[in-house]
Symmetry: C2
Subunit: 225 residues, 2 copies
DNA sequence: CTAAAGTGTTACCGGTCAGTAACACTACTC
DNA sequence: GAGTAGTGTTACTGACCGGTAACACTTTAG
């Protein structure tokens, strides 16, 4: 029949007998996340998703009106997870935007270089959805716009003289890392993202008025020159 | 029948009557280039390609052993065009690697921002070909490795203190621009690529020995502060 | 002129796709 | 206990997919 019934049968177990307590909809969405991310949107059929989730196509269509809507929901779900990760990455350095950016990129590198990584769900999805009216496109464009906005805001808070330029440059860096991840096994260009972001930060953030010394980014980083 | 017979019937015209003189194989490959780039690999079927090329599926399979092989050939063709463009972009500044890089990125920006652009054929293709054994993957990985190598070489020739780091950073920038192009209509983050490359060049290339002062990036870039 | 290569045409194969109809069963709620 | 919502199962539709068989035709090369 299907190949993952047992794998997914561990329910939340509110009562005693922990059988497949998880709602079909959640199981499907969870399975879709894995399959869509790994193999792509068009490569995965609804039947494959349903059976991998331990159910069938009929139950699938009781939860989702169409595959396209599932794709949109998948992207929304990925978005929620993404911002959770983002917020967690910058939280330890609240108040110091420069450190937040550095931490964000360090975190991003280790995550994106991991074995199972296939880059960015949204970037991959938009390649497969050229049609402008697909319900998933709205989610993607919104997500990327939010990403751009956040990087610009952080750049501004970090004291960049041209925060829009810095934010956009950081975005190019990030997106480039996601994309190159698909063509290079390991030790790809993304390896330099950490250094690159620091170089850009140095170039865009003026040293604070040298009335005295060691105001901000002049200590450890300047030692390079 | 088909919709483009007339459009493609302009042959090379070695003789007089310029009917569909172009070989079927070339017509198919040319049509595939347009369709694959615009709509993606999986979204376009061989029948659609054949009929758009003014022929049919049977003639298609006389020229190409399979769709996967057509995809590989499509990518090889794109690669040839890409390096032609690349060489043409840097040719006017032979001998001055820094200018070559600037010209390359300027050219890249105007091209990638154009209306019909859908980013990088290779980047888009690799998203749709997760299977490691697809004949197209070899072409993609080879292309991206070549790209990385060229950027590193140019960085070295430009006098960068760490040419590998600069080259890889430029690659991230470029790839990021290609990818973001798909999510932003116009005025996307790629708009800053020109400025970004110059900032990075300034940061990575030491000012030529001034025999006196100004050790590294203290001239033009520092004037911003 | 003849032969071969290239091409067009129609019909077909087995498989998969997204999406639906109809019916049986279980579990929880009231 | 009855009702209802959620779920499983089987079978199906119509469309499309990549790929092939068989045959007729035209163009080119010798």
């Amino acid at each position: 029949m299907n190949t993952m019934t047992k794998t997914l049968s561990t329910g939340s177990g509110t009562s005693e007998a922990a059988v497949p307590k998880v709602r079909v909809r959640d199981r499907i969405l969870d399975t879709a996340r894995g399959l869509f991310y790994r193999y792509g949107l068009r490569a995965v059929g609804v039947e494959a998703i349903a059976s991998e989730a331990g159910t069938n196509k009929m139950s699938f269509y009781r939860c989702f009106p169409s595959k396209d809507e599932l794709i949109a929901e998948y992207l929304r779900e990925q978005g929620r997870g993404y911002w959770d990760w983002w917020d967690a990455a910058i939280a330890p350095h609240a108040g110091d935007a420069r450190r937040q950016l550095e931490a964000l990129f360090d975190n991003y590198m280790t995550l994106t270089c991991k074995d199972g990584s296939r880059g960015c769900s949204f970037g991959n999805a938009v390649v497969e959805l050229p049609e402008g009216d697909h319900p998933g496109r709205r989610v993607i464009e919104q997500h990327k716009a939010e990403m751009r906005g956040r990087l610009r805001t952080l750049s501004s808070e970090a004291g960049a003289t041209d925060p829009e330029a810095l934010g956009d440059t950081l975005m190019l860096l990030m997106e480039g890392g996601y994309l190159t991840r698909l063509s290079f096994c390991s030790q790809g260009p993304i390896s330099v993202a950490g250094k690159a972001v620091r170089t850009l930060l140095d170039a865009h953030i003026p040293a604070v008025a040298p009335t005295a010394r060691t105001p901000r980014a002049a200590s450890s980083k300047r030692s390079k020159a």
